[in-house]
Subunit: 343 residues, 3 copies
Amino acid sequence: MAKTNTGRFFEDYSVGDVLIHAVPRTVGQGERALYHALYPARLALYSSDMFARKCGLAASPLDDMIAFHAVFGKTVPDVSLNAVANLGYGEGRWLAPVWPGDTLVAQSEVIGVRQNSNGKTGVVWVRTTGRNQHGLSVLEYVRWVMVRKGDPDAPAPDSVVPALAPVVAPENLVVPEGLTFASYDTALAGETHRWGDYDIGELIDHVDGVTVEEAEHMMATRLWQNTAKVHFDTSARPDGTRLIYGGHVISMARALSFNGLANAQMVVGLNAGAHANPCLAGDTIRAWSEVLDKAETPAPGVGAIRLRLVATKGGAPFDLRGEDGKYLPNVLLDLDYWALMPM
Amino acid sequence: MAKTNTGRFFEDYSVGDVLIHAVPRTVGQGERALYHALYPARLALYSSDMFARKCGLAASPLDDMIAFHAVFGKTVPDVSLNAVANLGYGEGRWLAPVWPGDTLVAQSEVIGVRQNSNGKTGVVWVRTTGRNQHGLSVLEYVRWVMVRKGDPDAPAPDSVVPALAPVVAPENLVVPEGLTFASYDTALAGETHRWGDYDIGELIDHVDGVTVEEAEHMMATRLWQNTAKVHFDTSARPDGTRLIYGGHVISMARALSFNGLANAQMVVGLNAGAHANPCLAGDTIRAWSEVLDKAETPAPGVGAIRLRLVATKGGAPFDLRGEDGKYLPNVLLDLDYWALMPM
Amino acid sequence: MAKTNTGRFFEDYSVGDVLIHAVPRTVGQGERALYHALYPARLALYSSDMFARKCGLAASPLDDMIAFHAVFGKTVPDVSLNAVANLGYGEGRWLAPVWPGDTLVAQSEVIGVRQNSNGKTGVVWVRTTGRNQHGLSVLEYVRWVMVRKGDPDAPAPDSVVPALAPVVAPENLVVPEGLTFASYDTALAGETHRWGDYDIGELIDHVDGVTVEEAEHMMATRLWQNTAKVHFDTSARPDGTRLIYGGHVISMARALSFNGLANAQMVVGLNAGAHANPCLAGDTIRAWSEVLDKAETPAPGVGAIRLRLVATKGGAPFDLRGEDGKYLPNVLLDLDYWALMPM
């Protein structure tokens, strides 16, 4: 009996399947420190217990992207080991903070399958939920991936394409219990701009750049127990390069966006996301943002801001697509998310 | 008076000497996080407090190899600063889990010396014991190294070659107090194969590979306060390469072996080990295992499995030695250990 | 309104200005582990709770340089984003240990300004204070930097050059409350040499070297939330190199100095410091020290030793300046500090 995991192929997924992902993971101070070493993360709420307490929280939670990466990593062996491409994200919501010492588990439900016309691959949609040791959901999101068929003669399943909301409606965003920005200190946060200072349509060039290294992206990707071979093994891709985990680009771009969005503290919604082009060691990642929408929330002084976060590896800021409507070759990431900001 | 440590030479060791190794070390959540960033470590018992508690432990202990590396690192300034080669390990036993917050100290007793016929080097055997802050032994093992003579005219000592057991007898393995695999959850652990599913003689190719980088192995090696120059300083070896600490290869191979041995949770015995060839940055480490033996233990649902773990930097899996009986040039590590597995 | 921080220019500083630096930072076990992975740090007091308790402290504090880097990092966006050069340090004192879990905040007062004769740049002196969550000062130091003018036509301010003490007087050094070296264990600390064994004028070659990598210095620099572009972005300097943060060299040299100064446990004073030449990835950092002075302290068994710590990237130990009085091109760092040592 083969003991190793060869991963699931397209024909192994059926709508309604529930995948229990392995390896519950306790995350804490160590993961936080590594997150700060791997990314130029500086948001005050995630850097300081003192600052977080003034915002009504018990302590500084772990960065929202630590929750995302830890949950995502668990899904890789069951969802994307044979994936050709990570096609998109949607309907993502952060439901509760993750505190140091919490243990995260993850499961996914298959909510859609559609074989491609080439007969060799198909698209699989899964809704993934991350829970803590109390059984409380901390994160949920939909991801869809293109997966190879293992047996080219396996019959095509009935197509089921889930209807996903293009945007998480503001009234469905979950503001962490107790959060208040009523006595928010912009001097300690690093910038004076509040929710009211941002206009829909406004563009922000985050200026700073980071040239990425193999050792860093591998450490980051391993930290989340993501095992996809292409990130670690130079023999896994024909050209000998190691493809950088898309989530590394997300965290790098989000951290770079501090410069101009230092008060966009908590990520609470993931509306959409595309990894437009591959990122490799030696690339210099930069980021720009566009304000897509704004909404109020019931929490004291807490506004929601919808942002497009674009990561690039060159080119001019604010350029996104060519005349053909396709992403320009220097665009790495196009992410659409909601964050909470002091009003 | 010279203030710096030039290390001991062969003639400085006598059978019966007790070496008190410097720098007690408190290890915790930070070391755990770094271990997960440096290696693709995914064993559930070392990833999750929740999982560990279901196995009867108070919390998730630190990885067994953290204990090994931390203790080993302390011995380097006293045992192997002038070593020509790390020749072997034996009679190793993990005696108690190491918990976050524990402080480790180490000492070694010289149990053998034998000058080589060239008159320039000799072999030194030491039995090293790691203890925690309560004085409790957590680890013991024998290591033997080839050490240069400082004074070529120093007289050869009487040869004392310790008689070492080729294998730690199963009845001498120490199962951590309270450990039970009676309600072990294979879905959360990542694989369904239990102790009964492995046959003696079975070979497992762990499939995955990691291409290693200078920054990573240096961080790993420093983390254990191992100061051997060859790992850090490009001027220490004639060809300008930095030799990767053999323990880095051990941890990498052990972590890679998750794929096929996800339930070989705790390392409790080290029967033998050889670093067959040097490992350098740029090498892609892979691993395969052979089931050497199996034994029962008194703990509920806990079996012991004896495994050969081979790390390679190329070549076909399961190839170990050439026709001349020597390790093939692509073999990095040949380790023989006992692990605990659910029955 | 521009949302991003372009940094202050020379004309933006006036004597008496108080700069509140952003992002309070909670530091803990994770930062400690990373410090040990990034540097060959082995001082027993910072490695072991057990050892620290025998020295009268509640636990092992975070390394003194963690406090320095964390505070320094906060000042970068307000002090040195447009700096041409980091010219010097002085009047530095560590006032209280930083414990895991402490939150650090920083502020600086402008204490001097002097426009350079070229009319394009000026020198700014700031006195920076780091405080913990109780409002207690843990560190203070003066730094002066050369800063570009943003508007070349801005009028030159009246020159104010602060009179700085060339050395922190021993009676002004603060010994941590409760510290005692009365029952100090040199075997566990790693070396037998005590305060009385060092002579003023004595030179110590620390022997070991570390060849530095891009991934490491960027992780270290990010960990302290230092955002200066030249450390991260290959497009920030004309030659495409990433300049290594001078503090990385300080910590590397201090850690290397263990070999010969294993008992120079706590840094309590920073008399002066110069980053003599740039350090780049691929350089092999070595260090040597000179004993400049010695003093007694009121604490039991605790002496103070004043040391010159020189980091190099080649050349012979103990060579510092050429015939022209300038630092030799291989000298990276010339640091003058006070440490506490068992008598």
